[in-house]
Symmetry: C2
Subunit: 462 residues, 2 copies
């Protein structure tokens, strides 16, 4: 054997080649590799035919060596599963004990916002789309990718977003990315240096991205018509117009017009975070603001709510004058989003599977919303659910000063959920809103009723 360490654990074929083809030497080398942990317990060995071919040995020589080591207990041969390193062999010793991830025990009921029902991912339909997409994909799909994203996906998104969200664009103005957080990282600060206006209530994670990018954010007050865009005093603003996150209302018609007018007048931009635009349960249409003025709105969406955050796929629909700047940040090749998933999503969209999935999920979430609203009306009529016309969460408004204790009471009932305070911009000057943010998409179907029941028990009395 070579000096320990330097040549340890190299490709098995290469290492064993040093045995010079003798059966005894092969056995010794394999035994040493197992003992030293270079072949870890459970590792599957190459089929003896393949190893024999690679080493230039007779098949019988390798088969004999395997049989000998199985007899000695170093290896195990399992019908249909090949030959593996036996579990009784010395395991690969970690240099230190692996740490367990710290954190509280898992709560019984998960009503956190922002997560679609993970049990509802359309595995069969997705696999069928993947099969169709990968079968017909041109070979160049498996080479270095266009940083804008696959053309199949950008074409499919152009059609889908026009039809479902009123977005006016062309495939050349779409840039695929890994989700909304990645979209923000592409834009700020290289393309849009800031300062920028944001809503007084929003996702702390997004604020942390701006902070890390050195981009100052100015909170806009919210009222019953959404963000008070008439207060805007910087050119760039990030909003959630279809369904304010987390308070839940749409941006009023007049303000949609006003925010676009402001962008035009100042040479600024609206960054439109359309995080759950597909999920509306009432018939009042709320299209994307982008359709009003594609040259003054950056539209951002993803599949994180509609399909799964596990896909890591999102998109930016850009004014033409920003495309090159965003690509300069993203790089010369696709370095982020899986091209295989991009091809599959394109097929999923064009085949109608996406529409079917959205329709199914819309029905499911609408039922959950109705169950929540009904349970509250019956058991806690003093608690007003708001923002329930759309999306995957509701806000239960509470009397001033009662939120913190309500969140604590919920935790005692085994409920994971957030209060509105968790979403408030630290520099917000508008009056504090008390309320619980109830994500009704998170639990699996069978666990939802129990979660709503626990929630009703945890709510403060009238």
């Amino acid at each position: 054997m070579p000096e320990t360490g330097v040549n340890s654990g190299v490709d098995l074929h290469l290492e064993l080649a040093a045995t010079g083809g003798r059966r005894a030497a092969l056995i010794t080398a394999l035994r040493d590799a197992v003992r030293a942990g270079r072949l870890a317990p459970g590792t599957r060995l190459p089929p003896y035919r393949a190893l024999a071919a690679d080493l230039g040995l007779a098949r019988n020589t390798v088969a004999d060596a395997y049989a000998e080591l199985v007899a000695e207990g170093w290896l195990t041969a399992v019908q249909g599963s090949g030959t593996r390193v036996a579990e009784r062999a010395e395991p690969l010793a970690p240099a230190r004990t692996p740490k367990k991830a710290p954190g509280p025990p898992k709560p019984q009921h998960d009503l956190r916002q922002g997560r679609p029902d993970a049990t509802a991912f359309p595995r069969t339909e997705w696999l069928a789309a993947a099969r169709r997409a990968l079968t017909v994909a041109p070979h160049d799909a498996f080479g270095p990718g266009d940083p804008r994203g696959r053309p199949e996906l950008r074409a499919a998104l152009t059609q889908y977003l026009a039809r479902a969200r009123g977005v006016r664009t062309s495939p050349d103005r779409i840039v695929v990315c890994s989700g909304f957080a990645h979209a923000l990282r592409l834009l700020f600060p290289a393309v849009l240096p800031g300062p920028l206006a944001v809503e007084s209530y929003g996702l702390a994670f997004h604020r942390s991205i701006f902070a890390a990018a050195g981009v100052p954010t100015i909170p806009l007050a919210l009222d019953e018509n959404g963000a008070c865009v008439e207060d805007l005093d910087v050119p760039v603003v990030v909003l959630t117009p279809a369904h304010q996150f987390p308070t839940g209302g749409p941006l009023h018609h007049d303000r949609r017009t006003a925010v676009v007018g402001h962008a035009r007048a100042t040479g600024g931009l609206l960054v439109e975070d359309d995080y759950d635009g597909e999920f509306r349960y009432d018939r009042k249409p709320v299209g994307a603001v982008q359709g009003l003025d594609p040259e003054h709105v950056v539209y951002a969406g993803s599949v994180s709510k509609s399909l799964s955050p596990a896909l890591r796929l999102g998109w930016l629909v850009l004014p033409e004058h920003l495309v090159d700047a965003v690509l300069a940040v993203k790089g010369e090749r696709e370095a982020w989003a899986s091209v295989l998933d991009q091809l599959t999503l394109a097929e999923f969209l064009t085949s109608g599977a996406y529409d079917r999935h959205i329709r199914r999920m819309r029905q499911r979430y609408r039922r959950r919303r109705d169950l929540l609203v009904g349970a509250l009306a019956e058991r806690a009529p003093h608690v007003v659910p708001t923002g329930v016309a759309a999306g995957l969460h509701a806000v239960l408004r509470l009397p001033p000063g009662t939120e913190a204790s309500a969140v604590k009471a919920a935790a005692w009932q085994g409920l994971a959920l957030d209060g509105l305070a968790a979403f408030r911009h630290p520099a917000a000057t508008m009056s504090t809103m008390d309320g619980l943010v109830v994500g009704y998409a998170t639990p699996p179907e069978h666990a939802y009723a129990a979660a709503v029941d626990a929630l009703c028990r945890a709510l403060p009395p009238a």
Copy 2:
């Protein structure tokens, strides 16, 4: 219809709900939506049953409306493909003419380095692995992901890297990422602030990542034994020990030991870029340096050379004391690498499909290497191919001062390839090396012989 723009192009169901259920109004609304481009040519309409259910209309009403619009030429009904917006309808007008990506015409022969044969992606085997993986995956795989990566993949990598590359680790010390460039971004500057030493010849793209991160790099000279690590005067160094990129040799045994010793003595680190470790054609084993001292080496690998850069999957194998720091940069959830691809790769590794693919590709690339070396020996014996024991590229050394004209001559022959100058660190002080970097993995199988022929024609005479 509502005011143009503000409510344009909203979800079809919602928009049409405003028709109040009358057949004539439904027809008008659909016609307007097509004319205004909100329904783009080719867009598939929902099945009439689904639309009727959503709008609370009789099926016949919607079916009649579709039939009328097909008769008028707005829609087309294709057997088995549903009802679509006709191509003769006014297309969605882009606000400006989409730009064509600029650049030279595609060269006839592509011998650029760094690209595996895109025609060889194992589509069928990958889809089979995806089917097995997605069928058995737990539901939580479709929720927010662990930023370290899926446990199935980290377990599979632990075994595979031990067996194939001599890497000693445990799943807790592996962090999945989107490829080597992402790995560098995770490490520099937050985890390792620099300055750091790099090889005098390397990928300019990597140097640009260090520059963007504000991390100064100090070039190390190269000789026939690899990087001159005895010259190291900073604690952190990034190397390609198995196969120096691009010059092609392995780091000498004594220097492997020396670089680890330097890291131990200085509290520093080796970042080991094992970009093509699987592709060796000779039997001399070159395992990962990481196996010598897992607490002083960061090992980085990816599937970009072994399977495809389209997957955007790579991994960092970290010393235990760096795991938390890397995760702090990566974030609380998986924001980058597709969980579906991670699950599939785990299955691909454990099922043996990865080994089979590597064996197949190793044979293919070895044949190409042999064809190249043979053609040069016959037609340009004065040109010495080096770095050919491994990897997906060769370096053809040229007499001093002749590289630039040779690259130009190659371009005239329709060849895309780089000279060594493209890889030289701008601050390198070692003497200049002249040579062509020939990527023999890039062309599809049928085009390779012609590319080698064109190369031989383009080489300078003796």
